[in-house]
């Protein structure tokens, strides 16, 4: 992409009015939890921006994140983001293949040095020199370092790229690490989730585009607009938790009545994401509304939290694994100390005679 026109000029030519920008900006301000007055600034910012070059790298991943961001809707306001970016490299979506694909990546990096955004889904294997995942003859680590060198910002999408995800789960056979472990010299925005909510991904890109800066992030590098509150705190079933009304299984009366899913393993209290507010599939529903507890997929190590159906307040693993041994050992030491005391006493009694 070597288009030097602004997005405003480019889209006006295509008959997209500034009203559409404003409408998009109003929608974006709302999902980013910005005041509605920010819409004007967002519209202005996007109109004055150049089309954003994006290089999308896919490492140890399942393509679910791409599925999420490209979920087919009728052409509508939510999809305007795809006119604002130029996706210059993406394995799954691009036409080119083989060395032509790699050339496209190199070209984009050269043309937009210092300005392009790198989006990464998937974790990076480090064990055995990273041989467990290679693309075009180089390891994921090499490709990541090479591509990020001249990037403006890096966005990790999905729990694999942000926290290691499933490849990084115990026992982590490939030595998978998140992107933020490798790229430390520039902003890495983490948009976790398995997959992330599409609006969280597009909203963050829109923010970068209109303000030219990184949105406010939490301690795990996630935009606070989407990851600022626990699912539990925004859950419509929360009042049932407070009242102690719980579904005990997935087909009991409580489940049918829509009670709290804490006892069937919901991780909502420790999961930070916008599922309860933005919801999924264009606002249709989210896991808890559909009757299943939250898996905590946006949290580090969600795969190893001790089981999706084990309540959060239970112990992880088997805390009684050494109970038998402990009882025997305790009894043995107790008996021994009693025996020693008896012995000592008997001795004293004998000597006393």
């Amino acid at each position: 992409m070597s288009d030097k026109k602004t997005l405003g000029e480019m889209l006006t030519e295509r008959g997209v009015s500034r009203r559409s920008f404003l409408k998009y900006a109003s929608y974006t301000a709302s999902i980013l939890a910005l005041p509605p007055t920010a819409a004007t600034a967002i519209a202005q910012g996007i109109a004055n921006a150049r089309r954003q070059s994006v290089i999308w790298l896919s490492f140890q991943e399942c393509t679910g994140c791409t599925e999420s961001i490209t979920r087919a809707h009728a052409p509508s306001i939510e999809d305007l983001i795809f006119d604002f970016i130029s996706l210059d490299y993406h394995h799954t979506l691009q036409n080119a293949s083989g060395h032509l694909a790699e050339e496209a990546r190199m070209q984009a990096m050269k043309d937009n040095a210092g300005e392009y955004i790198v989006i990464v889904d998937g974790s990076v294997p480090l064990k055995d020199d990273g041989i467990y995942s290679t693309i075009a003859g180089i390891t994921n680590l090499q490709m990541l370092e090479e591509t990020c060198r001249d990037a403006f910002a890096v966005i990790s999408v999905g729990s694999c790229a942000t926290f290691g995800g499933i490849p990084g789960a115990n026992p982590n056979p490939t030595g998978a690490v998140p992107v933020s472990d490798i790229i430390t010299d520039k902003p890495v925005i983490n948009i976790s989730g398995c997959p992330p909510i599409p609006e969280a991904m597009t909203g963050t890109i829109a923010y970068l585009l209109s303000f030219g800066s990184v949105p406010e992030l939490d301690h795990l590098g996630r935009p606070k607009a989407f990851f600022g509150e626990a699912i539990h705190d925004r859950c419509y079933r929360r009042p049932f938790y407070e009242r102690g009304m719980f579904a005990k299984s997935f087909d009991d009366e409580g489940a049918r009545q829509g009670w709290c899913l804490f006892e069937v393993g919901c991780k909502g209290p420790v999961s930070y994401n916008a599922c309860a507010t933005l919801k999924w599939n264009g606002g249709v529903s989210f896991p808890i509304q559909s009757g299943h507890g939250c898996l905590g997929c946006s949290e580090p190590g969600f795969w190893d939290m001790g089981g999706f159906y084990k309540p959060l307040s239970t112990a992880k693993g088997d805390p009684l694994q050494w109970a038998g041994g402990a009882a025997v050992a305790g009894a043995a030491i107790g008996a021994a100390s009693a025996a020693i005391a008896r012995n000592k006493r008997n001795k004293v009694m004998k000597e006393g005679k």
């Binding site: 006006t12 709302s30 306001i77 009545q257 264009g282």
Partner: protein, 133 residues
């Protein structure tokens, strides 16, 4: 889509509508006094469906309403309280993508942007040059 047997808070009125009304009243005072507009993002508030319907009914529909055909439909209307506008943007599948109450003389979205005026002028010139009217 939701199981009809499951109780849902969206059906309950929480009294939020009246607090939104109070906020609108303050914004109208500001607009009248210093000509400074204000707006409220309804999606960012914990409004139930019942609250939203109640608010819409309380504000009613006034003299002006407009339908906008841009990347999905949008509706804008002035409520029975002049200066209080309701802006509803629809997105994919006709779902509400953004809903804002704007307290102003006229919402920005109704005004034509200078860039669009320029584009219109050049498009019209082109038309005149290429066709006989």
């Amino acid at each position: 889509m939701r199981d009809s047997a499951a109780p849902c808070l969206s059906e309950m009125s929480t009294g939020m509508a009246s607090s939104v009304l109070a906020e609108i009243g303050r914004m109208l005072d500001t607009l009248a006094g210093s000509d400074e507009p204000g707006s409220i993002d309804l999606r960012s508030l914990p409004l139930s469906d019942a609250d939203r319907a109640q608010l819409e009914e309380l504000l009613g529909r006034g003299e002006v309403s407009a339908e906008l055909a841009l990347a999905g439909d949008s509706e804008v209307w002035e409520t029975t309280y002049p200066g209080v506008w309701w802006i509803r943007h629809r997105g994919a599948g006709g779902k509400i993508a953004s809903e804002v109450i704007s307290v102003c003389r006229i919402p920005e979205i109704l005004m034509t942007h200078p860039a669009d005026i320029e584009a219109a002028a050049s498009r019209l010139r082109e038309k005149l040059e290429t066709t006989d009217v």
